[in-house]
Amino acid sequence: MLNAFWVVVVGMAIVFASLLVLMLVMAGLGRIFKPREEKQKR
């Protein structure tokens, strides 16, 4: 059952970590490709 426990913990960690990286990548791309009007306002 210890192995099953590790599957749960590592599995959820993989899911969260993967999606965190994806979110950071998309946040970065969102800043790079922000529309010009918004950048000019800043």
């Binding site: 099953a4 599957v7 993989i14 899911v15 979110m23």
Partner: protein
């Protein structure tokens, strides 16, 4: 008399034949008369009907188990080329990807974590089934591979459920597929009681600000490519699923292949749905389906959906606290991959608490995030089970 036994199926009828033909009738009734998921239940019901006619030969393999040989049955052929190769679920995912607008999610990227939390049902159910099975109490006959295949019902995603279970426990796949699709249709019944149990009226009334920011088209184009790279490198076994899903989405968002996007959303999705449903039904013979463990699969399937909903809601409540009561915890329930049904359920439950509180777009963000999360979880399962349990 012997000649009659060989020529007609009448003498080969047993109780399993009768029960399965009744099940076929129920599926067809639900699909046609009650319009419950007809796109799936009509092909599945017809497949069940055909395959349970004795002596039909629809599941027969050729000589020495050959597939491309004279006398191979239709369902044997479709099973080998579409299910055993995982081709059908991947093709369907191209169509699904072309149908999904990830805009609401991209406007609210934090909802990605709600999608992640709502996959707890996959892992929690795996643990529970294995503990009840060969890993602990021995009440169920399931090993780790089978427990994981049952747990994947919690992905609330037909293609992912079929893909993972056809690799880890092919014998259970038909029952798992029927359970997954059935519970996806039953989300409006399964989720609301859990949502009301785990949240207070005050929490359900929280109004969330609507984001007016448009997502630049370039971001929408880069998103599927970035997702393939990120998820592919971090959870490589998920690459076929996420690749197919994001390929479909790229067809949609690129804006230069509208005819391909339209084909993916319509003709491709419909053709593969016909073949997939028909084949799944065709694999449901009495001998395989009418086993005690089939009931266990259906019961644990509900457990998976309950744990999914609870996991998403729990993180939703944490976000509610950490955000200073600005996030409505209900949207956590939409983190399961049953798109768009779950988002609509969140909208409905939210409106019951406050008739002017529209949560749909926020829930849609979590719902589409859940699609990515469920595929990632499926990939994680495919790596972890052989790693920790051998094979």
């Amino acid at each position: 008399m012997e000649l009659l036994k060989e020529l007609t199926g009448l003498f080969a009828i047993d109780w399993q034949t009768v029960v399965m033909l009744l099940i076929a009738g129920v599926l067809l009734y639900l699909g046609i008369s009650r319009k419950v998921e007809p796109v799936l239940l009509v092909p599945i019901g017809t497949g069940v009907l055909l395959t349970n006619i004795p002596l039909s030969g629809l599941l027969e393999m050729g000589k020495d188990g050959a597939v491309l040989a004279e006398g191979v049955g239709l369902f044997a052929l479709l099973k080998q080329f579409g299910i055993a190769t995982e081709l059908f679920p991947l093709l369907i995912f191209i169509g699904i990807g072309a149908m999904i607008d990830f805009g609401p999610f991209l406007q609210r990227p934090y909802t990605i974590f709600l999608g992640a939390a709502a996959q707890f049902g996959i892992f929690g159910t795996f643990f529970l089934v294995y503990w009840l099975g060969q890993g602990g109490l021995g009440l169920l006959p399931f090993d780790a591979y089978q427990a994981a295949s049952i747990g994947i019902i919690g992905s609330a995603d037909g293609p992912t459920s079929i893909y993972v279970s056809s690799i880890l426990a092919p014998a259970l796949m038909p029952a798992i597929a029927v359970a997954a699709y059935s519970y996806m249709a039953l989300v409006p019944i399964i989720q609301p009681p859990i949502m009301k149990l785990m949240t207070t009226v005050a929490e359900r009334k929280v109004r969330m600000t609507t984001s007016a920011a448009d997502i630049p088209q370039r971001v929408k184009i880069i998103f599927p490519i970035a997702t393939i790279l990120v998820i592919g490198f971090l959870a490589p076994k998920a690459t076929p699923l996420i690749g197919a899903l994001m390929f479909g989405n790229l067809l949609r968002e690129s804006g230069v292949v509208e005819q391909l996007s339209a084909t993916a959303q319509n003709e491709l999705a419909n053709i593969v749905t016909i073949l997939l449903g028909f084949t799944i039904g065709g694999m449901m013979t009495g001998a395989e389906f009418l086993q005690p463990w089939t009931i266990a699969i259906f019961i644990m399937g509900i457990v998976a959906f309950v744990l999914d909903t609870a996991g998403g809601l729990l993180l939703g409540k944490i976000m509610y606290v950490l955000s200073g009561k600005k996030v409505n915890p209900l949207i956590g329930a939409a983190g399961i991959s049953a798109f768009p049904m779950s988002a609509r359920v969140v909208q409905k439950v939210g409106l019951e608490a406050d008739p002017y509180n529209h949560l749909l777009m926020h829930a849609a963000g979590a719902n589409t995030a859940g699609q990515i999360a469920s595929v990632t979880a499926g990939g994680a399962i495919l790596v972890l089970i052989p790693r920790f349990f051998g094979g």
